[in-house]
Structures are given as C-alpha cells and as structure tokens.
C-alpha cells in the first residue's frame, strides 16, 4: 500500500514537471496572462474606479464575486469550528478555582451551577494557572490599542497603499488574540462575547453580499458599485471607490471575528470556560 502511494506521488510529480515545460518562460511579456486583461487593468482601473491601488481595484471590484465567496469561506471556517468544537454548557459538575489575591491561597468551588458573586479579593483562575507576568501583561496592554488602530488604518487605507479588509481584519483579530494570550481567555471574552463574534461575523458577509444586492436593486449588475452613485450623490466612478471601501469593511469584520472565534473555540476546547 505504501509503495503504491509512493508510485502515485512520483507519477503525479513527474506529470507536473512535464507540464511545466509548456509554461511561458519567466516574465515573458508575450505570455497569455499579460495579453488580455492585465493591460486593461493597468491602464483603465484608475479612471474606471478612481482607486490608485490596482490590487484593491481588481480584488474588490473587477473580481468582486471571488472576494465575496472568499469572505463566505472564512465565515464558513468560523462556523465549522464552532459546530465541531463548541460544547454547550451541560449539567456536569465543574470545579472553579479562585485565588485570594492578598494571600495567594487558592480555593476550589465544586458543583455549583450558578456562578458565585464576584468578590473583590478573589480572582477566578484557570486549572493550569501560572503566575501572571507583569512585563508581558503591561506591554501587551500598551500595544493592543495601537495594533487595533493600525488594523483600522489598513482597512480604511486599502485604496491607496497595500492593505485592505483581509489584512486589516487579521491585524484586528490578532490584537484580541494577543489580549487573550497575555491575560487570559475570560478577559478577552469579557471584551467581546461569543454572541458578538457570531453576529459580527455574519454581518461582515452580509455587508458584502448586501452591497451587491443593493446594486442589483438600484438597476445595475450584482456588485456593480457604480449603482451606488444614486444613494451617495457622487459620480459613478467615485461611487465605485466608496463601494470598495464598504465592502472592505465587511471583509474586515468577517475576518476579524472569524479569527477570534476559531481561536477561542480551539484554546478553550469548546467550553469557553478557561483557556490561555
């Protein structure tokens, strides 16, 4: 069986290497990819969409369908992680550990379904608790707001510089994950609950698809942002640029929350109780 697998791999590899011979040579200006659409994008995208960044124009406008379904794929990844991993709170007895912050004594509370009232001197700790590190906590607390600001900048500035919804969303998601790593999972969930993740993730996809549908309602093709000119009271070319921005915000929301959602589900093993 193993030998059979190796034979298949070698045959496929040989086939791929053989097919490489038919590729156009490296950086060949006469290759088919450079003859049909590329010159049109390069020459016309600024006057058609008023977006200086070619990549953003192609990604969100010319190839809008592609990006919309990419966002849907990311949303699906988040939902799949949720359905596979999430364990709804059952009636199992759970042990909660609390630490007296003044003396360092840890107590375990067993078999209570309802959460005891929060006392000032006691803090909830994980089962695998390690003493908090002041340097890491402080540095991450300082860095997180700047990270989020930078993420928003990357989303909003995707027209003019490298960036856009996917990258900015990843940065925003990473900032929340950094908070969860440097403090603990409960802190991060306290900032943004699971329900918020689920709603925002679907809202992101909905903004993208909804913008497309709005264009359809206004009388042009699906995802033809020129139709938004009538609502925004600008000329169609500027409306395309605004449409790309709206869509990028949707992508950013979906990517950010999908990342946090997946991380929370994996790190807490689906219980949302304790984790990193």
């Amino acid at each position: 069986m193993r030998i059979f697998g190796i034979i298949v791999v070698i045959l496929t590899g040989a086939l791929l290497i053989y097919a490489m011979g038919d590729f156009p040579s490296w950086a060949d200006p006469a290759s088919p990819a450079h003859n049909h659409v590329s010159p049109r994008y390069i020459e016309k995208s600024l006057e058609q969409t008023s977006v200086p960044n070619l990549v953003t124009a192609v990604l969100a406008d010319y190839r809008g369908y592609d990006t919309m379904f990419e966002t849907a794929v990311i949303f699906a990844a988040g939902v799949v992680c949720f359905f596979l991993l999430r364990i709804p709170r059952k009636d199992e007895p759970t042990v909660r550990r609390y630490r007296h912050t003044l003396t360092g004594i840890t107590i375990s509370v067993k078999e209570t379904r309802e959460i005891p009232p929060v006392l000032e001197e006691f803090e909830r700790i994980d089962t695998l608790w390690t003493p908090p590190d002041l340097i890491i906590k402080t540095c991450c607390r300082i860095l997180v707001p700047f990270l989020q600001l930078f993420g928003l900048y990357v989303i909003a500035h995707g027209h003019h510089s490298p960036g856009g919804g996917f990258q900015g969303g990843v940065i925003l998601g990473a900032s929340m994950i950094l908070l969860a790593i440097s403090h603990d999972l409960r802190t991060a969930i306290g900032r943004m609950s699971e329900r918020v993740h689920a709603i925002l993730c679907s809202v992101g996809v909905f903004i993208f698809a909804g913008t497309g549908a709005l264009c359809l309602v206004l009388g042009l093709n699906f995802l033809d942002y020129g139709a938004l000119a009538r609502i925004l009271h600008v000329d169609p070319v500027t409306a395309r640029s605004h449409g790309i921005l709206i869509v990028e915000i949707g992508v950013g929301l979906a990517v950010m929350t999908a990342m946090i959602w997946i991380y929370n589900n994996i790190s807490s093993k689906g219980k949302y109780d304790e984790g990193l």
């Binding site: 540095c139 300082i142 860095l143």
Partner: protein
C-alpha cells in the same frame, strides 16, 4: 549626512552578523535567545534610524511623515521584541529547562 547613514548601517550590519553567529554558536536555549533579542532591537534600531535619516535627503512634509513612521516602527519593535523574548524565556523556565553549565567530568 551620508557619512552618518553609512556609519549607522554598517554598525547595524555588524550587530546583525554578531547576532546571527551568536544564534548559531551559543550552546543552549537561553543563551541563544540572548543574541536573538539583541539582534532585533539593536540592529533594527540602527538600520531603521539610518533609513529614516536617508529618507530626509529631500526635506519635505511627506518625507518627514515617512521618517516619522519609520521611527514609530522602531518604537514598537523596541516594545514588542524584548517582551516576546522575555515571554519565551519565561516559558522555558516554567517548563523546567535548566540553563547550560560547563560539564565537570
């Protein structure tokens, strides 16, 4: 101006070379992390400051803004890189990895 830039870049490259050699040649986890932390902060600081200065050749608002952004990168690298190294070392200590000592046999 050019002299300062070249001097800073060469200093940064020396830092990077030393750091790379250190990562390869030091005996254990902790002592390898030591040059790794220095490399990012020290070498990065020198080279990025040199770039910011080089960028100010044509003095205008846009180059000033670019220089400011580069300095911001330096600030954040300075905050995050030592913290990351500290976190890794901390994790190593908690996992029970002892530091390297010269064997007496």
């Amino acid at each position: 101006m050019d002299l300062i830039v070249v001097f800073l870049i060469i200093c940064g490259l020396i830092f990077f070379t030393g750091g790379a050699v250190g990562i390869l040649r030091f005996p254990d986890f902790y002592s390898r992390l030591h040059p790794a932390g220095k490399l990012d902060t020290g070498g990065g600081l020198l080279i990025l400051v040199a770039l910011a200065l080089f960028n100010l050749h044509h003095f205008s608002l846009s180059t000033l803004l670019t220089g400011f952004k580069i300095i911001l990168i330096v600030v954040f690298v300075f905050l995050s890189s030592p913290t990351a190294i500290h976190g890794i070392v901390d994790a190593g200590v908690r996992a029970g990895l002892g530091p390297w000592t010269k064997k007496k046999d």
